[in-house]
C-alpha cells in the first residue's frame, strides 16, 4: 500500500474520536460505587461514622486516601496525552508518601515499648488488605481498559497512577467500615493496599497500554 493510499483512507475515517476523561471518570466512579456498595453491605458501616469523620486524626483516614486517589486519577488522565510525562503528579504522590512516613515514624516512636506490634496489627489487618484490594481491583481494570484509548508514552507509570487512583478511592470507601483509628494501623495497611493496586496497575499497564 502506498503511503498516499493509506493517507487517503485515514482521511475518510471522519468519525470523531471520543474524549477519554469523561468516560474514564464515569467508569471509575460507577465501578467503585458498585464494588464499594457490595463491600459495605457485607462489612457494614461503622456506627460512629459522623464522629470519626470530624475528629482530626481519624479524618485523615479519608483525607489522605482521597488525596492520593484523586492525584492518581488526575495523573493517569494527564498521561493519556503523549507529550506529558506526569512527573508533577508523581512529585505530589511522593510528597504525600513522605508526609505519611514521617507521621508513622512519629506515631511509632510515641508508642510504648511492647505495644508496637499490637498497634500495627490491630484486629483486622488482613481483612483491611483484602477488602481494599477487592474494592479497588474492578475499577482499576475498567480504568486500564479505557486508558488503552489514550497515548501514554509511559505505560507503566500510567498503570501505577491508575492503581493509586483506584486504591486511594477504595481505601476511602473501606474507611467507612474500618473502625481501627490508630495511625500506626491505617498508615501501614491502607498504604500497603493502595501500593499493591499501584504495583498491579504498573505491571498491567506495561502490557496493555503499549501502542
Amino acid at each position: 500500500m502506498k503511503t498516499d493510499a493509506l493517507i487517503g483512507v485515514l482521511a475518510q475515517d471522519t468519525k470523531v474520536p471520543e474524549r477519554i476523561a469523561a468516560r474514564l471518570i464515569a467508569a471509575a466512579a460507577s465501578c467503585l460505587a458498585l464494588t464499594g456498595t457490595v463491600g459495605l453491605l457485607i462489612l457494614g458501616i461503622r456506627p460512629d461514622l459522623g464522629q470519626a469523620m470530624t475528629a482530626p486524626i481519624t479524618a485523615m483516614k479519608w483525607l489522605i486516601p482521597l488525596a492520593v486517589g484523586s492525584t492518581g486519577l488526575l495523573g493517569a488522565l494527564r498521561l493519556t496525552r503523549p507529550e506529558r510525562r506526569g512527573m508533577g503528579v508523581v512529585g505530589i504522590v511522593a510528597a504525600i508518601g513522605v508526609g505519611g512516613t514521617l507521621w508513622l515514624a512519629a506515631a511509632l516512636l510515641a508508642t510504648p515499648e511492647g505495644q508496637v506490634a499490637a498497634a500495627i496489627m490491630g484486629n483486622s489487618a488482613f481483612r483491611c488488605l483484602l477488602a481494599l484490594s477487592l474494592i479497588g481491583l474492578p475499577p482499576l481494570l475498567a480504568m486500564l481498559a479505557l486508558l488503552r484509548n489514550g497515548a501514554s508514552t509511559a505505560p507503566g507509570r500510567s498503570g501505577a497512577l491508575a492503581g493509586l487512583g483506584a486504591g486511594g478511592l477504595a481505601a476511602a470507601i473501606y474507611a467507612l467500615h474500618c473502625d481501627e483509628d490508630a495511625p500506626q494501623f491505617f498508615l501501614i495497611w491502607y498504604s500497603l493496599g493502595i501500593a499493591l493496586l499501584s504495583v498491579c496497575g504498573a505491571a498491567m499497564g506495561r502490557r496493555v497500554l503499549r501502542w
Binding site: K2, A5, I7, L10, K15, P17, N149, W211
Partner: protein, 180 residues
C-alpha cells in the same frame, strides 16, 4: 517556506471537525516530514522499512488524534507520538535512535521529501484483518474506490461504513504494533 504551528494546528482542528480534505493535506505534510526524519537516521535500512515506520507513525497519529487537546500547541503532541513510534521501530531492529526535539522542529519547517514507495508489509497485515475489514481497506485504499462503491459491495450503508472503517483502522494500528 516555513510551516507555522498555526497552520498545522488549523488543519488538525478542521480535520477533527470532519474536514477530510484539510486532514489529508495535514497527513501529507507530516508524512513528508516523517520520511525525512526516518531516512536520515536509517543507515543500512532499505526504503521499504523506512516507509513502514512512516506509515506506522501516520496510523498512530490518526488513531490517537483524540488525545490532542486542541487548546494546547500541536507540535509537541506530534513530536511525542512520532518519537514514541520511531524510537520503538528502531528498537525492534536492535538500534537506538536519537531524535532531539530541535531536529524535529527543523524538519517540520523544511520542504517536502521525495515521493513515497510501495510497501508490501502493510498489505500482508491487511490480509490478517477480519474478512470484512480487509475487504473494506482493500476497496478504499488499494483500489481507490469511493464510499458508495465499497459500501454497495460490502452491503454497508454510509453510517455503518464509517464505523466499520474506524474500527478497521484501530485494528490495523493495533496489529502493526503487535506484529513482531
Amino acid at each position: 517556506m516555513a510551516r507555522h504551528e498555526d497552520q498545522l494546528a488549523e488543519l488538525m482542528r478542521a480535520g477533527l471537525s470532519g474536514d477530510a480534505r484539510a486532514y489529508e493535506a495535514l497527513l501529507k505534510q507530516l508524512a513528508a516530514v516523517l520520511r525525512g526524519i526516518v531516512r536520515a537516521r536509517a543507515r543500512g535500512m532499505d526504503h521499504g522499512w523506512c516507509e513502514d515506520v512512516v506509515q506506522d507513525t501516520l496510523l498512530a497519529l490518526h488513531v490517537k488524534r483524540g488525545t490532542w487537546d486542541s487548546t494546547q500547541p500541536f507540535r509537541p503532541w506530534v513530536y511525542a507520538i512520532t518519537r514514541h513510534k520511531v524510537v520503538d521501530a528502531f528498537r525492534r531492529q536492535g538500534r537506538a535512535v536519537h531524535l532531539p526535539v530541535e531536529d524535529f522542529a527543523d524538519a517540520l519547517a523544511a520542504e517536502d521529501g521525495p515521493d513515497p514507495f510501495e510497501v508490501a508489509d502493510a498489505e500482508r497485515l491487511i490480509d490478517r484483518l477480519p474478512d470484512r475489514d480487509a475487504a473494506l481497506l482493500r476497496c478504499l485504499a488499494l483500489e481507490g474506490q469511493g464510499h458508495e462503491v465499497c459500501g454497495a459491495r460490502l452491503g454497508l450503508t454510509g453510517g455503518a461504513l464509517r464505523v466499520a472503517l474506524h474500527r478497521a483502522l484501530q485494528r490495523l494500528a493495533h496489529m502493526r504494533q503487535e506484529r513482531l
